[in-house]
Every structure is written in C-alpha cells, then in structure tokens.
C-alpha cells in the first residue's frame, strides 16, 4: 500500500507554500518551487505502481490517478517556465520581491488544493479543494495591481464565489439524498459509497442536485453563459497562472461534474445528464469560435480558445458512450498539455515584444525563430491539425457524432472549422509580416514548451497501448 505517495502529493506543495512565503532571494525561491513540484510529480508517479487504500477522506481510482499525474506534471513544467518568466518581471519592475514571495506561496497552495480536490473521496472536501484553488488564483490574477488586473480579479472572484456557492448547495442536496440510504456521517458523502448505492437514491432530488452542481462547477469550467470571468482572468494575471488556469483548474472543475454525472448515470430514474452537458458544450464551442475573430489581445485569444476546447470536451462527455468518453478523456489531456505549452510561448512572446496587443506582435519568425516555431506548432496543434494529438481526439468526436447525431455533428464541425480559421488567421499575423520596432532578445528556457509539444506529437502519432487501455477503462466507468 502506498499511503506515503499520496501524502507526499498533498503535503509537498503545502509545506513548500509555507517555506516559500519566507524565502527572500528569488533564485532560491524559484528553485524550491521547482523542487517541490518535482517531488509532487515523482510521488504522483509512484501511485501507478501501487495505489493507496481507500478511506472516507481520500482515494485513488482509475479516473483521478491520471488527472493527478497530469496535474503534477504540468505543475512541474509551469514552475520551470515560471522561473525564467518571473526573473524577467523582476528586472522590468512589474513585480516586487514581496509580491514574488506571495506569488510562489500561492502557486504551491493552488497545486496542493487541486491535488486535494482530485484525490478526495468526500464531496465536501473536494468542494473545499476547488474553493481554495479558486481563491488562490484570484489573488494571483490581481497581483500586478493594475486597473485591469483588479477589475479582472474582482469579476473572477464574484462569479467564482457565486458558482462555488451554488455548487455547495448542490453538495448539501447530495448529502440529503444519500443520508436515508447510506446513513449519517462521512460515508454518506464519499464517492465510493455514493456510486455503490446510486441506484437506490431518490431520483428527483438527485436531478435537482445535479442542476445546482452543473451550474456551480460549470462556472468554473467556463461554460457559456457562465464564462465571463475567464478571458479577463487569463489576460490580466501573470502568464504562468494563465497556463495552470487553462491547463489544470478547468479540468479539475470538469472532473467534479463528471463524478456527479457518474452517480446519475448509475441511477436509471434520474434526468439524463447527457443532453444538458452536450448542449452547454456545443453552445460554448460555437460562441467561443465566433468570439475568436474579434480578439485584439493575444492572451484573450487563447483564453477564448480554452472556452472552445472545454466546450468540445463537455460535448463529448455529454454525448457519452465508450468512444465519445474515450475521446473526451484524450482531449482533456491533449488540451491541457497543448494549451499550457501555448501559454509558455505567449509568456515569452509578450515579454520579448513588450505588449499583449496582437496588432503590435508581428514578424516573430524573423526576430525569435525558436520561439516562433514553438508558438506556431502549438497553435497548429490546438487548431486540430494532424499529426498532433488534438486532431486524434477531435476526429474521434466528430466521427462518432456523425454516426449518432448527424445534425449536432454539422454544428460541431462548423464550430471546429470556425475556430481553426480564426486561429490560423491570427497566427499568420504574429509569425510573419514586418517585425515591429520594439523587440528585445530573449533569455528563456524553451524546454517545457517543446517537451509538451513532443508529448502531444507522440500521442498523435501513436498513443501508447497502456494509455489506450486505461482510457478505455475510465470511459466505461463514465457510462
């Protein structure tokens, strides 16, 4: 039994957060940040060999183990990216050393809270994890203290709190449903016992609870029409925060919705959750695809692209069935890796060009060739071109939708094509054209960026067999 591994996944970030709040020299702080993330990732990898015993508080199963590993991995690469990004921010005076200590502590606290949300076997504890992760990101989004950053953080905070409150009401309803069947106390809130006795739960109240949970956690996923906080929060905060927001936090909120969907799926008399998810996903996809055309800010552009991709994933899970679920899981992974890679590139680009305005970022291929390759490949991957992994999952979703719901498939494909056009149009302007006057040389590590792209490419060319079997198992669980 591997209780040590799981404990380490949760405790390493929290201990590091306390340490980082006290460490003054930023180089050492950045190294500690990387070391803690590495430790969490290594501990998460050991979970594959032997999973810890389930209890009423924490558990690890086929579904969350893969998200824990993915989260800690992206956390690790982001901490490496963050080290170079932050030193530039210090040099230009955007951040003071005090802010930096605060930033590092919050970063680790957020990683710990997300792991807690993923590994908890208790719906209340999961709620606490997501809440803490939200609050820490709010603080990080507002860290630049510009007008825009405060406005973005305020909006994120208000919408996030409303969402999280509604989710809590849903959580209470779930407990009320479970209490007569399972009995009072902790077991009535644990996933394992909820799933086991799902069929005996009262269907109407369960459906009502799911409605609250879908709207509540859906706000955090960024589903239209609850997405208003997302572009602002991505655009105004430090770029490493945008990377983890897009790559990780949205996934964690979606994970919560999927867990509750599993309970509903195991009960034959409830409202079917599929159509609600599919409609919200499709609307998000179409809305975000149109919005992509009018963006003038490079981080906002990719924030809308995140809404689009969360829409695709939600749509896939809403459609259900082994193939769509498989594609949804694959897309969750691919989007997480690709989008964080893109934000690493965008972070370096905005620092090199000194602006986030798309109109002022031109001719990147002449001034920073390596970075241009990274950004270009990332955008090609996220737009869904082969041979990258995103193509594989989008292709699977499209074909299975055409086989089952041709009308929806037309809308879905239209959304994909619209987004594709918008992204490539923007990419052309950024990469080619006459270089703008302002452009500074770059001191940056491009390793995290290309490591992510290599993984996405590998998954697109040949998805490793163990991963395939494993996605298939989880896809069955999801129903």
């Amino acid at each position: 039994m591997n209780d040590v591994g799981l404990t380490l996944v949760l405790c390493a970030p929290i201990t590091a957060a306390v340490l980082l709040a006290a460490i003054k020299p930023y180089r050492i702080a950045a190294l500690v940040n990387i070391a803690a993330s590495l430790l969490a990732f290594a501990a998460a990898s050991t979970l594959f060999w032997s999973a810890p015993a389930d209890n009423d508080i924490l558990f690890v199963d086929g579904f969350n183990i893969y998200l824990i590993a993915l989260n800690t991995f992206v956390g690790l690469t982001t901490s490496i990216f963050s080290a170079t990004y932050i030193s530039h921010e210090l040099e230009t005076g955007c951040l003071t050393p005090v802010h930096l200590r605060f930033y590092h502590a919050m970063f680790q606290l957020m990683m710990g809270a997300m792991s807690l949300a993923l590994a908890s076997n208790n719906i209340g504890l999961m709620w606490v994890g997501i809440e803490v992760a939200t609050l820490t990101t709010v603080l990080m989004v507002g860290i630049y203290r510009t007008h825009e950053a405060i406005e973005a953080a305020w909006k994120y905070f208000i919408l996030g709190s409303v969402g999280i409150s509604l989710a809590f009401f849903g959580t209470i309803l779930i407990y009320l449903v479970a209490q007569p069947v399972i009995g009072e106390g902790l077991t009535a809130m644990s996933w394992t016992s909820l799933i086991a006795s799902a069929a005996q739960l009262e269907p109407h109240l369960l459906s009502l609870a799911f409605a609250f949970l879908l709207i509540g956690y859906g706000t955090k996923v960024g589903l239209v029409p609850l997405h208003a906080w997302l572009p602002d929060a991505h655009a105004e905060g430090p770029t490493p925060v945008s990377a983890v927001l897009s790559g990780l936090l949205l996934n964690v909120a979606l994970y919560a919705i999927l867990r509750f969907k599993m309970i509903l799926a195991a009960n034959p008399n409830t409202l079917s959750p599929g159509p609600a998810l599919a409609v919200m996903g499709l609307v998000s996809l179409l809305f975000a695809s149109f919005m992509l055309y009018r963006r003038r800010d490079i981080k906002r552009l990719f924030a809308y692209s995140s809404i689009e991709h969360m829409g695709i994933i939600t749509f896939a899970f809403g459609l259900g069935g082994p193939i769509a679920n498989f594609a949804g899981l694959l897309h969750m992974t691919m989007h997480s890796l690709t989008k964080s890679a893109i934000f690493y590139a965008v972070g370096h680009v905005t620092q090199a060009k000194g602006t986030q305005k798309l109109d002022n970022i031109c001719g990147l291929s002449e001034t920073h060739p390596a970075l241009a390759w990274g950004l270009g490949l990332g955008v090609v991957a996220i737009a869904g071109l082969p041979p990258f992994g995103v193509f594989a999952s989008e292709f699977l979703i499209t074909t299975t939708t055409f086989a089952r719901e041709p009308l929806l498939a037309i809308l879905f494909a239209a959304g994909l094509l619209l987004a594709f056009g918008a992204l490539l149009m923007r990419l052309q302007g950024v990469l080619f054209g006459a270089p703008t006057a302002h452009s500074s040389p770059l001191k940056a590590s491009l390793v995290p960026l290309f490591a992510h792209l290599a993984l996405v490419l590998w998954a697109g060319i040949s998805l490793p067999q163990p991963l395939v079997e494993w996605f298939q198992r989880v896809a069955e669980l999801l129903g």
Binding site: H147, L173, L208
Partner: protein
C-alpha cells in the same frame, strides 16, 4: 408562543428570510451592515437550536463562529471602512426597490415550489429549512446583481453564505468538516474582499464598481 420544537425552527429560518428581504430595500450603508449583523445573529440562534435538537454539540462551534465573526467582527470592520471612505451617502440600485422586491417574492416562490415537492419524504423541518435557505441564497444573489457598490456586494455574498450554512445544519448529521470549512471559507472570502476593497480604494478613490468597468482590458 412556541408549541413545539418545530415552531422554533420554523420561526428562526423564516425570520432569516424576512431579514433577507429587509436587506434588499435598505439604501444606505450603515443600515445594511446592521441588518446583516442581525441576520447573522438569527443564523447563530438557528444553528444553536439545531445543535440542541439534533444533539450535535459540534454545531455549537458553527453557531459561535457565526455569532463572533459575522455578527460581530466583520460588520464592525466594514463599518470602519465605510466611515474611513466617507460613503454614507445613498446607494443607487439598478432597478427600483419595488421591482427588486417583486423579483424577490418570485424567487422565494420558485425556491419553495422547487424544493418542497421534491423532498416529500423528509421531515417537515428539513424541507422547510431547505426551501428557506434556497430562497435566502437566491436573494443574496439578487442583491449582488442589483447593487453597484463593492461593500453591498460583499454583504450580498455573505448573506448567501448564511443561507448555505442554514441548509448545511438543517441536513441532519452532515459531517463537521463541511461546516467548519464553510465558516472558514467565509473568513478567507472576507480577507480577500478586504484586500480588494483597499486596493480598489488605493487606485480609484472610490469603491463604486461601475468605475471599474471603464478599465476592462478589452476597451482600451
């Protein structure tokens, strides 16, 4: 006055809902804070009563937290901020008070119509508490939407949390971890809000959220 324990539960949660309505038509800062403190006091009583009838002593902690933090420390701190900023003047609401109250009545009806039929098999106290608390949550949301002032939005949010705690305690035997976490999250929430209020003040010399809207990144 109270023939049975059920009457007390009913009275306290009904009173909380009534106070939520009172919050909606206050149009100056100090009365808003006073009314909110009163709601928190009623919440503390309601939670303590639940602790008594459910024989669940840990709920007294939640009641104590509501009493000390939400009825005492937080309103006092907010009052100090209001005085420091000199914003005792009237609050403008988005639509008229009449319209707000009509919307509030409709939301309360909605909450009762949704919750009561679906919880048919439960004890009457649980059903009513749940319906009342959903109504309080919705009214808190309404207040956050209708008000443009950062401090009234904070109060709306905290009144929402009051409704949530009422619901959590009415659900018999809900584990302690959740209640403490809720109280704790309110604390954190207040901390965050406080930081924001000060930062907003630092930058704008006002806490009117309308002014912030001008600084939306997209409109530069």
């Amino acid at each position: 006055m109270f023939a049975s324990g059920y009457d007390v539960t009913h009275f306290l949660s009904g009173l909380m809902l009534l106070v939520s309505f009172m919050l909606l038509y206050q149009d100056r800062m100090f009365p808003i804070l006073n009314v909110f403190a009163f709601q928190a006091l009623v919440l503390a009583l309601a939670v303590a009563w639940q602790a008594f009838i459910q024989d669940a002593p840990h709920l007294y902690i939640t009641a104590g937290m509501a009493l000390v933090m939400k009825a005492g420390v937080i309103p006092r701190a907010l009052r100090r901020i209001v005085r420091k900023l000199g914003i005792h003047r009237d609050i403008e609401t988005v639509v008229s008070v009449g319209m707000t109250l009509i919307a509030a009545v409709l939301l309360t009806l909605l909450a009762i119509l949704v919750v009561v039929p679906l919880t048919g098999t439960r004890a009457a106290e649980t059903r009513e508490d749940l319906a009342f608390s959903l109504a309080i949550v919705l009214l808190g949301l309404l207040m956050m939407i209708m008000r443009r002032n950062a401090i009234s939005q904070i109060v709306g949010f905290m009144s929402m949390e009051n409704g949530l705690i009422l619901a959590a305690t009415a659900a018999k035997g809900m584990p302690l971890v959740v209640e403490i976490s809720v109280a704790f999250s309110v604390l954190i929430a207040f901390f965050v809000f406080g930081v924001f209020v000060f930062r907003i003040r630092e930058r704008f010399d006002t806490i009117d959220v309308n002014v912030l809207d001008k600084y939306r990144g997209e409109r530069k």
